[in-house]
Amino acid sequence: MYIIIVGGGKVGYYLAKQLVEDGNEVLVIEKDAAKCQEIADELGDIVLRGDGCEGITLESAGTGRADLFIAVTGDDEDNLVACQVAKNKFSVRRTVALINNPKNEAVFKSLGIDTAISSTALILANIEQELPSHPLIPLLTIKGGGLEIVEAKVPSYSAMVGKRVGELLLPQQCLITVIIDEEGVPRIPNSDTVVRAGDEVVAVCRCESEDALRAVLTTPAEETNER
């Protein structure tokens, strides 16, 4: 495939590198001479210095035969115009634009860009998906020991709720060191301390038993009763 990338910043560089490694014909269009030189030094003769929104630049880049046109500069308006010029003047079938303002996603789509990718939206989607099912947040990995300190909020449905710390079936080499209640008061628990819903639990555990600890925290009460 012949792929044109507009913008030779970090995203453009690594994208080009990966696509070249995958065996594609790649051309990066970049305005800045120093960045062009860097890319040429690292990836070879795959850079064209110029403005990726200019018809003349895109003409000499052979945009007419590009299978894919990707605009990843730091400015949404430049990515939009580069893709629109490629699509409307050179009939490129597929255009992809990076966007910074996630609200521009709908604008880009309605203005004819095939794919608009917002890094902000991707990160948001990820944390929104992951937070409820993975309540374990690694705070610190202890050097050399394979241990880490993690923090988690006890969900209201958890089988831990109402149990004493001593009753919990924790993984091997796992210790609950601090429990912070919903009012924000931290306590160092003993085996008689009762876990409540919404408590923040700070624990030290082996890195490999993170999943087991997560399971203890998130297993719903009913499920444990059935077993």
């Binding site: 200019e54 949404d76 308006e77 430049d78 939009l80 629109q84 609200k103």
Partner: protein
């Protein structure tokens, strides 16, 4: 008429002043708060600091309700993007977009935007001026 002008440079300032004196309801938008310094002291229109390619900014200034939108920032691409948002997202009835690059101007004109390329226009004016007899006014 309610008119929004994006870009308070020389042209934006001049246009805003003309329209304001005519009694139009003008809002002028620029990302640089210092840009408004060139407006005359008796300018009655609204000055708004904000980015015209941000829909939230355009919504805040009530773009759904305006009669006309003019994009005259120094950036062709910013003008093109803001004008397309004004026309296609907010449905502004009259949108005029300045594009310096004649090639891009032609493209967006063909895509249905009302465009003006000062490069092309001024080149033609200069050519006409050169063709006139020296000393002749018209």
């Amino acid at each position: 008429m309610k008119i929004v002008i994006m870009g308070c440079g020389r042209v934006g300032t001049e246009l805003a002043t003309l329209l304001d004196r005519e009694g139009q309801e003008v809002t002028i938008l620029d990302i640089d708060p210092d840009a408004f310094d060139q407006l005359p002291t008796d300018f009655k229109g609204k000055r708004v600091v904000g980015n015209g390619i941000d829909q939230d900014v355009l919504r805040r200034i009530g773009l759904e309700e305006v009669d006309a939108f003019v994009a005259v920032t120094p950036g062709d691409n910013r003008n093109v993007m803001a004008s397309q948002i004004a026309k296609h997202i907010f449905g502004v009835p009259k949108v005029v977009c300045r594009i310096f690059d004649p090639i891009r101007e032609e493209l967006y004109h063909n895509l249905g935007l009302e465009t003006i390329s000062p490069t092309r226009e001024v080149a033609q004016l200069l050519k006409k001026a050169l063709e006139r007899e020296p000393g002749g006014e018209d």
